[in-house]
Symmetry: C2
Subunit: 905 residues, 2 copies
């Protein structure tokens, strides 16, 4: 029998690599890329990769390296020697190496790098003699000992740093590089004593150093930070890490040396021009740490200090390499290079990070350049990156001039600046004079008018899905939520932030992208996309930004399966959503309409009515107002489907809370304030979320459903008579039992028939339901007997399935996220195991009864990319989200379809 | 080919019946029983039954009777003729019949009876001549026309009643029977005119009358009331009804006639003595309607007016028949009889209704008499009937003397009388001087001490499962809840009921079985069962009631599969539950313990602590107090398993609400009242049901779980060292994700190990979880990785699955019940389709991971019979309920096992 020897080590060098970029699982990301670079003839210092399989063997054997590894490593070191002419452990002509971890997926929790490994007293002395740069050698030696002690031997770096500080103090110098060579030699000796005192042994033998470092890399795979990171990012523990060992090259050995970083395109704007910085006679960390100011690469910008002037050959070579790498990897690259004695070496290449703006632009450009195809372009853009193209932004110059006061949650992206108002009423009043920032503890439906009037909303309480955040995003308003550093005092009419007391009328600014609250006024500019699509003040052909946006959107629409609708209550919201690509309204909340001018009065009369007659009188007043609202929406949607939800929130939300407002209402209604107060008390609920709301209102007061249905159908006929197609879909909320739905459906259909008869015209419509209670999902087969469509209300479904109030979860959810109980807030990304299971059950049972049942989702998750992916996988027909999320949803839907193709019937 | 003629008609008469009691599906309950009676030679007027199949044919054919029916009916009428010597439709010797509906299941919504059918002008005249009782004949004729018009022709009886009233007014008489014969004849003629005026035709031909009546019976199967009743009681629409046609016999044709009703045993006490009433020369309805006072049957009680004296032969015959019927049907019978011209006829027999007390006694007695076997006895008792044997009752004489003030919900059965107190504090204070009735708007955990001190609890708000009702039942207290006629004014310290103002200290009484609130003092007596089992003041052998109870319980234990545990927080509750047969504690709520004397202080310090150190200090004070509580419970349960739930309710429930209490707390803690108020504000939640509670507290404050675990294990070791076995089961509440459970489990197991080590002794214990959130049920496979047992918290599971707050559902649930959306409150009987589906999913997934997983339920449904049936069917191991529900649960579990036998492995 021949024993097959397992290959544990993969070399790379000028003759090519034993691996390639496709072998990330075995060689880790770093190792695979190094092999790939040598394969395409990029100059890379030679080295080798110990595979991730060795990591697995190491742990299985109880932290022991496998037999046979030393032989394979020895051979690989010989290959480096034959290429560099230097030999590892040979004091006469020593080779130093770097040792780095490199897992299949990027893992910030692990050991990163040990440099200069292979040095000892003898090697150092010879190296100093050969290089003629004694200072450099002993500084490298000192650093290596400290790094090795810290990472491999577990002796904390504090003691070594203290030793340095003592030397500097004694010699009265302030900078490390001011220490003379003699002192550095003493520090090397002192460092070894620290290690000995800690009962550890610093290995003088370079081979022992190497094995220690390799074991340390493997060990770091299971340190606490790495374990937590893996748990949070779903990286399997058995993947393991690889170890990369590579010949050192030095950019700091003299003036014929240098080092730098470069991006193949501008990572901020996405423009197709390279960008990079470098330093002569320096190490990589000098560029990154900002101790010395680096210079730009090209001569036009940096003149005599440019790489182009100092090392024109290397410069030309670097440009060629950048082009080659980008063409090879088909994406923008972020690379590190070093010039050692006039020779250019590439140390790393990886896909470069970029702003959202740049991501979108690069993706679009690369399709035009035929570098990539549309599907790949789509998959490269984080859907939320589209926000950068849509939101108004601060004029950067103006923003620099003001102070950041506090930081809250970036709940509604964009930039807003204006005078602060501390009540909705005041916000409305002040808005005629200029932009307003509404500042509240929190907001409630009563504040809708004020939120509508404001440019930005700042709350001291509530989370990313608080009322303020929800409505702000729906309205496309800038919002910073839950900023507990801001203290609002309604009595004194002040808001204190960053130690400064603001009165109503003082200027404040909000950056909804960062959550910053800023002092005073900052100029903003609307995004080009909005200026083209919504304001129509900019012509499409004059805006390259818009062109980019439109190109990406057209790609997205080509690949997605999900329909995209919008949640909109007003004609202007509806029009904006259509401009952003919405194909219908998935949720029109009728309750917001009741807060409009002239409507809240009759609404309150309706609620306070003691008998049917009085209630009907109030409803008769509301009917024409609702009809007008619906007609406006139908016109704006111009034939697209419009899903209208009947009255949903608990009635107490419509009643006034302040004594003055109660008295005013009492006077206008001709009843006593006590009566109104008693009614408010009556309507109080312990858990309003689980109380008298949704279709329970329509069951208790069928006349309300009847009025709403009548307003819908009368408006629909009115608009249809003008020659505009209308497709109303009436949606009954909070259904738990099919009987509730059937009772409400009967009212809607009876009303429709009566209106059609009276107006002498018919139209098609649907009656369906929200699925927002676990019971509805569990009995979806029964509910589908009556429902023509389902729309998941995942906000309430999350609250009920998890037994977790959105508004109250702030007291424990942060800790839950820290502990990994819910890695993301379930109110942001859908909880697939729990809420998602209910979605799946509902889809399966609903379609068992009615195979072509139309199913959508109109909760906040409808605009969140990972949730959209889940809804695509679950077989939904559409998602509905706030108007400004529509482009994001289109992109996310396309990505989902590309990642998880649906089988075509 | 021979066409097989379907048998549509089944005759019964002195020669026997063509059917029997087993044929209820075909002949209906009434028809089957009539046939059965003739089969066992009971004298029954002859007749026939048209089958339920004809009903189906009738509807299928579009409301048409099938061909061939007339021939079969004709033959059956001939059989009656040959037996009675009278012929239907023959004016010279006419036969009159009754026509009644009779479905397989009793259906109150349907047509009941038409009497005297077959009469017309000619028949009436002949009958009058033959009987010599013209008045009787024309009164019967008048009644028949009205009944027929109303039921068959659809002419409302109002018009006929008006006609009668006119006659009486004109003749100045007040009673129907005072009208002379001539006037009755006029009314007959006038009634026919009313029918003609309504454009209907009264059929003079008896045969036409019969077909009309038969069609009307079938038609009544689909009237609205019947359809609704079927829907509510799950009776299939295709069952149909039968029609019974029977020769009339008359108890009111002279003094040799009479009529009566009888029960074969006493329906009130269950004693094995017959009970009956009768009237000479009277119709059945005279006995029932109470126009004349009926007489008892036996001579000892009724002397000369007894049936025994007046018709001694019939009396002896009736006694024999009663014995025969009871022996035949093996149950107490309720029968109707008529004596016509000295001859006894039985018109009906059916199983008699009885009080709970009687039901239990009869079932037990009949087993002793070998009339039935134990399983049948068990199935005959409504589990809730056992309450009649357990609760203290008012002395009936004393109750009669006081006024009923108001009526609320009978939330906690029993009788309580005492002085009213309007606060928990006052109740405790007053209780030393005598029994107290605690009267509140509603109760909260803060009131526990007061509820414990009170004998009865009266609330003006809340339902059958409100806090007051829940805790009252748990404690075995009398409770009338949600009595909105009672107005409580805390400021004035008064409660107004029935127009009378009560001050603290005034006497009031509550009947928890009826919901009555009574004025003043009423004497109560404890039940014999309680005096034997709990008070131990009565010897078992001296109480026949206890003997009955014990016999039934021993039967139940023989057949049930479900274990029965109890929800108990105090040693005395635990002991009572064990006396009632509890086999363990299924839910020990630790929070109630914190309200005890000396505990609420440290608890509040714990909650108000700003840092871990202060919190730990407060926990250190609580530890010995909790340990003492647990030791008491372990001792009381003497080796039975004890499931202890860690802290569950939101913390704000423990903080004081009144300014005085806040100030007191502030002084005792040495902090400002403002600080406490601020903390109370901080802890306020919009939806506390969905807020920071359950294991979320233990996650936020692991030191609380650690203290509780330590108290449990230290107590357990302490008790075990005394030689008493201890089986603690630690239960983590409100788990939604297995990670939460794992985090809490680790704390419990670490603490256990530390305690065992410190005390030098180990014991076995389990760690499990409540399943009370939909997400927990849906991810039960994951949760069972950690949980050693599940206990369904169906209260919260109902609230979350249905999105319905128990405390807020009062505003809409009554209407929901009326509309049949939820036929019963889902907080009383488990909602099988929704919540039940989650229970099923949880059981299936849980046991998929851990096949022997122990699963119980500790929600309020654990004591409700129909829910217990469901839990048996779902394969649960045990139910846990309040101590006083334990006997009921034992019986319900036995019934479930008898109805749905589990397959034995």
């Amino acid at each position: 029998m021949v024993k097959r020897v397992q290959k544990l080590v993969y070399s790379f060098g000028s003759k090519g690599g034993e691996g390639d970029a496709s072998m990330k699982q075995l060689l880790g990301g770093k190792g695979a890329n190094l092999a790939e670079m040598v394969n395409i003839k990029i100059p890379v210092p030679p080295g080798f990769t110990i595979t991730t399989e060795v990591c697995g063997i190491y742990f299985e054997a109880g932290d022991k390296l496998p037999g046979g590894l030393d032989a394979q490593v020895g051979k690989a070191l010989n290959k480096i020697a034959s290429e560099t002419g230097k030999r590892f452990g040979d004091p006469k002509n020593p080779l130093l190496v770097s040792v780095r971890s490199g897992a299949p997926a990027s893992m910030p929790g692990m050991m990163d790098t040990i440099l200069n490994l292979g040095i000892n007293d003898e090697v150092a002395a010879n190296l100093a003699a050969r290089s003629g740069n004694e200072r450099f050698v002993y500084d490298s030696y000192r650093r290596f000992i400290m790094m090795y002690a810290d990472v491999v031997l577990g002796v904390h770096r504090h003691a070594f740093e203290a030793l340095m500080e003592k030397s500097k103090a004694r010699l009265k110098v302030s900078q490390d590089h001011e220490l003379p060579v003699a002192e550095l030699k003493k520090i090397v000796a002192g460092s070894k004593k620290i290690i000995a005192a800690a009962k550890k042994k610093f290995p003088e033998d370079p081979m022992d150093q190497l094995w220690g470092a390799v074991s340390a890399v493997f060990g770091s795979w299971n340190n606490q930070r790495a374990v937590t990171y893996r748990a949070l990012n779903n990286i399997p523990a058995d993947w393991g890490t690889a170890v990369n060992v590579q010949a050192m090259v030095f950019g700091n050995m003299g003036n014929d040396c240098g080092t730098g970083v470069a991006f193949t395109r501008d990572p901020a704007t996405g423009e197709n021009v390279f960008f990079g910085e470098w330093l002569q006679n320096a190490q990589g960390e000098d560029v990154v740490a900002g101790i010395r100011t680096p210079h730009l690469l090209d001569a036009r910008a940096a003149g005599a200090q440019s790489l182009e002037r100092v090392f024109p050959g290397s410069y030309t070579q670097l440009l060629k390499i950048m082009k080659k790498l980008e063409r090879h990897y088909r994406d923008m690259q972020d690379l590190e290079f070093t010039i050692e004695n006039g020779r250019l070496w590439l140390l790393q290449t990886r896909t470069g990070k970029r702003t959202g703006f740049a991501a979108v632009r690069m993706a679009a450009d690369m399709v035009s350049e035929r570098l990539i195809k549309a599907p790949e372009a789509l998959l490269r853009i984080e859907p939320d990156h589209l926000n950068h193209l849509l939101r108004p932004v601060f004029d950067p110059k103006s923003k620099k001039s003001v102070r950041v006061l506090e930081k809250g949650l970036p709940a509604g992206p964009g930039a807003a600046t204006g005078r602060i108002a501390l009540s909705a009423h005041k916000a409305v009043e002040m808005s005629s004079a200029g932009p307003v920032i509404l500042v509240r503890h929190e907001t409630s439906p009563e504040d809708i008018a004020g939120m509508d009037a404001a440019d930005g909303i700042l709350t001291s309480r509530g989370g990313m899905t608080s009322h303020a955040a929800l409505v702000a995003r729906q309205m496309g308003k800038v919002c910073v939520a839950g900023c507990d550093g801001v203290v609002v005092d309604y009595k004194k009419a002040t808001a204190t932030a960053g130690g400064k007391v603001f009165r109503e009328g003082d200027f404040m600014s909000l950056d909804g992208g960062t959550g910053e609250v800023l002092d005073g006024r900052i100029a903003t500019i609307p995004s080009e996309v909005v200026r083209v699509l919504i304001d129509k003040k900019l012509k499409a052909e004059k805006s390259p930004v818009y062109q980019t946006y439109a190109k990406v959107m057209s790609f997205a629409d080509r690949y997605r399966d999900l329909g995209i609708r919008t949640n909109a209550d007003q004609p202007d919201q509806a029009s904006a959503a259509v401009a952003f690509g919405a194909e219908g309204i998935g949720l029109c909340r009728t309750e917001h309409m009741f807060f409009g001018e002239g409507k809240i009065g009759p609404m309150r009369e309706m609620i306070l009515a003691d008998d049917l007659k009085t209630r009907q009188k109030a409803l008769d007043k509301l009917l024409p107002l609702q009809r007008k609202d619906f007609a406006g929406i139908f016109k704006a949607m111009n034939g697209r489907p419009v899903t209208i939800r009947t009255l949903d929130p608990p009635l107490h939300e419509f009643l006034p809370q302040q004594a003055a407002d109660i008295n005013k209402l009492a006077r206008s209604m001709g009843v006593s304030a006590d009566k109104i107060k008693a009614k408010i008390r009556d309507l109080h609920e312990f858990n309003p979320m689980l109380g008298h709301r949704g279709c329970r209102l329509g069951i208790s007061f069928p006349e309300v459903t009847r009025m709403q249905a009548r307003a819908i159908f009368e408006a629909a006929i009115q608009v249809k008579k003008k020659g505009i197609a209308v497709r109303p879909e009436i949606m009954i909320p909070l259904v738990g039992s099919v009987t509730e739905l059937k009772i409400q459906e009967a009212i809607v259909r009876d009303t429709a028939a009566a209106v059609f008869k009276a107006r002498g015209m018919k139209l098609k419509y649907l009656v369906g339901t929200m699925i927002e209670l676990p019971r509805a999902a569990l009995t979806a087969d029964r509910i589908a007997e009556s429902a023509e469509f389902f729309s998941y209300g995942t906000n309430d479904l999350t609250q009920t399935a998890l037994g977790m109030s959105r508004d109250d979860s702030g007291s424990f959810l942060p800790k839950y996220k820290d502990l990994g109980i819910y890695p993301q807030s379930p109110f942001e990304a859908i909880d697939r195991d729990g809420v998602g299971e209910l979605v799946r059950i509902g889809v399966e049972k609903g379609r068992a009864t009615r195979p072509k049942l139309k199913i959508g989702i109109c909760g906040e998750h409808g605009g969140e990319p990972s949730s959209i992916e889940f809804f695509h996988q679950t077989g939904l027909d559409y998602v509905s989200c706030s108007p400004f999320r529509v482009p994001i949803a289109r992109l996310a839907a396309a990505q989902a379809a590309l990642r998880y193709p649906r089988s075509r019937g």
